[in-house]
C-alpha cells in the first residue's frame, strides 16, 4: 500500500467518525431539548427515548389506533403495492407504445398532457367518490401517481434510441417487432427504471396523503389519528417507519436495476 492510499484511508476513517459524532450530537440535542429542558411539552415533541419506547410498545400493542405497527405496515404495503404494480404494468407499456407507434402518440399524448398536471392528491376526493373508501380508492390514487412518471420515462427512453441503431437492425433484416424488443427497449431500460424509482417515491408519498384523508388502518392513518390524540411519539414512529420502508424499496429497485440493465447507467 502506498502512502497516498494510506492517507486516503485515514481520511475516510476520520470523516466516518465525524459522521457518527454528528448523528450523536443530533440525537443528543434532541434529547436535551426534550427530556432535560422540556422546551416543548411531550405531546408536541417527544424525546428520542419515548419514541423508542413507543416503537417497542407498538410492536405488540394495538392501542390506541387499532392495529400493531406490523398491522399498519401490512395495510399500507397492500395498498401501495397494488396501486404501484398496476401503475407500472399499465404505464410502462403505454409509454413504450406512445413512443413507438406514431398514431398512438398523436392520439394519446394530448389526453395525457391534459391529465398529467393535476397533482395526484387532488384526485383523492374523486376517487373516494368513485371507489368508496376501501382498498379500491387508495389503490386507484396510487395508480395515478405511479402511472404518470412511468409513462413519461418509458416514452423518453424509447425516444432516445439512436436512429443509427435502428437502421443497423433494419439493414440486417430485423422486423419492426424485433427492432422494438432487441434495440429500443434495452436502450430505454435505464430510463424505465428511473421512472419506476420516481413513481415508487411518489406512490409512497401519495399513500400517506390517501390514508390521512380516508382510512382506518395504515401508516398514514396512524399519523393522522395520533395527531388528534396528541401522541407525537407514535407520529414519529410512523414517520420513521415510512422513511425506512421507502429506503428499503429504493435499495431493492436499485439492485433490480443493476441486475437487468446492461451497460453503463445513463441519465
Amino acid at each position: 500500500m502506498n502512502e497516498y492510499a494510506i492517507q486516503k484511508r485515514k481520511e475516510r476513517i476520520k470523516f466516518t467518525i465525524v459522521s457518527v459524532i454528528s448523528l450523536c450530537v443530533f440525537f443528543g440535542v434532541w434529547y436535551v431539548c426534550t427530556a432535560v429542558l422540556h422546551l416543548k411539552p411531550d405531546y408536541v415533541l417527544p424525546s428520542p427515548v419515548q419514541v423508542v419506547e413507543a416503537f417497542i410498545q407498538k410492536l405488540t400493542q394495538t392501542n390506541p389506533d387499532g392495529a400493531t405497527l406490523f398491522g399498519h405496515i401490512a395495510a399500507s404495503l397492500q395498498v401501495a403495492l397494488t396501486g404501484y404494480l398496476l401503475g407500472a404494468i399499465v404505464g410502462v407499456p403505454l409509454g413504450i407504445a406512445m413512443a413507438w407507434f406514431r398514431r398512438i402518440d398523436l392520439f394519446v399524448t394530448p389526453l395525457f398532457d391534459l391529465i398529467r398536471p393535476v397533482p395526484t392528491i387532488a384526485w383523492i376526493p374523486l376517487m373516494i367518490l368513485w371507489f368508496g373508501i376501501g382498498l379500491g380508492a387508495k389503490a386507484a390514487i396510487i395508480f395515478v401517481s405511479a402511472f404518470v412518471p412511468c409513462v413519461i420515462n418509458a416514452y423518453a427512453g424509447i425516444k432516445q434510441t439512436k436512429p443509427v441503431h435502428l437502421w443497423v437492425a433494419q439493414t440486417f433484416g430485423a422486423s419492426r417487432r424485433e427492432m422494438l424488443f432487441t434495440v429500443a427497449i434495452p436502450t430505454a431500460l435505464p430510463l424505465i427504471f428511473t421512472g419506476l424509482r420516481i413513481s415508487l417515491g411518489t406512490a409512497w408519498m401519495t399513500l400517506c396523503a390517501a390514508e390521512m384523508l380516508a382510512s382506518n388502518k395504515g401508516l398514514g392513518y396512524m399519523i393522522q389519528l395520533n395527531r388528534s390524540l396528541a401522541r407525537a411519539d407514535l407520529i414519529v414512529v410512523a414517520m420513521l417507519t415510512i422513511g425506512l420502508i421507502g429506503t428499503i424499496f429504493t435499495v431493492g429497485l436499485n439492485a433490480l436495476e443493476k441486475k437487468f440493465v446492461k451497460g453503463g447507467r445513463r441519465g
Binding site: V18, S19, F26, P119, I121, L129, W130, A232, G243
Partner: protein, 260 residues
C-alpha cells in the same frame, strides 16, 4: 430544444383526442349510471366561470389561488435558498458532508406529507405550518440536486482554473456554481411541483382557504362539480408554474439547456 414546426396532422389528432375525451365524459355522465356520482362537463365549466365572481367560502377562486400560491412561493423560496447552500456545502466540503449528510439521509426519505401531523402539533394550523410543509417538500429535492451537482463538477475545470491562478473564491463563483446550476434547476423543477402537492395536502387536512381546502370542501359537501373545478384550476396553475420555471431556466443556463 428543437423548434417545433406547425404540424397539421398533430393538431388534428390532438383536437380529435380531446373532443373524444369530452364527448365520452358527456356521454357517460348523461346516459349511464355514472351520472349519479359525476357531473357532466358543461356543469363543471359553468361552475368554473361562475366561481370567478361567486365566492366559495370566503373568497372567489382567484383569491383561493393566490392564497395557495403565496404559501407555496414563501415555503419554496426559503427552502430553495437553504437547500442550495446546504447542498453545495455538502458537495464541495468533506467536512460539511460528513456532518450534515447522515442527518439529511435520515430525514430525507420521509415524504413531506408525513410531516403534516407533527408540523401541525408544533405550529398549529396557521400559515407557518403551511410554509414549513411546502418548504420541506422543496428542500430535500433542491439539496439533493445541488449536492450531486456540486459533486460532479468536472475536476479538470477546477484544476485548470487553479493552475491559472484563480482565487478559491473565483473558482467557486465562476466554475463550481455555474456548472451545477442546471442540476439545481432540475431539482427546483421537481421541488416546485412537490411544494404544490404539499400545499394541497396541507390545505386538505386543515385550512380555511386555498385550493386544497376548496377540493376538500367540495368533497365534504358532496359538491363534486366544485371538486372538479378545483382540480382543473390546480392543474392549470401547476402547469403554469412548471412553464415559468422552464422559462427562467432557459434564461439563466442558456449555455446548457437540458433536453426536455
Amino acid at each position: 430544444m428543437k423548434k417545433k414546426r406547425f404540424d397539421p396532422e398533430k393538431t388534428i389528432y390532438a383536437v380529435v383526442a380531446i373532443a373524444c375525451f369530452f364527448v365520452l365524459w358527456w356521454f357517460l355522465t348523461t346516459f349511464t349510471p355514472v351520472k349519479n356520482t359525476t357531473p357532466d362537463p358543461i356543469a363543471v365549466l359553468k361552475l368554473l366561470f361562475e366561481s370567478f365572481y361567486t365566492p366559495i367560502g370566503s373568497k372567489v377562486i382567484t383569491g383561493h389561488l393566490l392564497v395557495s400560491l403565496r404559501r407555496v412561493l414563501v415555503g419554496f423560496g426559503v427552502a430553495t435558498v437553504l437547500g442550495i447552500i446546504l447542498g453545495i456545502a455538502m458537495g464541495t466540503s468533506k467536512w460539511a458532508s460528513a456532518i450534515f449528510k447522515p442527518i439529511f439521509e435520515l430525514l430525507r426519505p420521509i415524504p413531506p406529507i408525513a410531516w403534516i401531523s407533527l408540523v401541525i402539533l408544533f405550529f398549529g394550523i396557521g400559515e407557518t405550518s403551511k410554509y414549513i410543509l411546502c418548504g420541506i417538500g422543496a428542500f430535500t429535492n433542491v439539496t439533493l440536486n445541488a449536492y450531486t451537482g456540486a459533486q460532479n463538477v468536472d475536476p479538470e475545470l477546477v484544476g485548470c482554473a487553479r493552475m491559472l491562478g484563480t482565487s478559491e473564491r473565483d473558482i467557486f463563483f465562476r466554475v463550481v456554481l455555474p456548472s451545477c446550476t442546471p442540476q439545481i434547476f432540475a431539482g427546483m423543477q421537481v421541488a416546485l411541483s412537490t411544494s404544490w402537492m404539499a400545499v394541497l395536502a396541507a390545505e386538505m387536512v386543515g385550512a380555511q382557504e386555498g385550493c386544497g381546502w376548496m377540493i376538500q370542501r367540495g368533497s365534504d359537501t358532496l359538491n363534486i362539480t366544485l371538486v372538479m373545478v378545483g382540480m382543473i384550476v390546480i392543474g392549470l396553475v401547476g402547469m403554469l408554474l412548471a412553464t415559468l420555471m422552464r422559462a427562467i431556466e432557459r434564461r439563466l443556463c442558456s449555455w446548457n439547456i437540458m433536453e426536455g
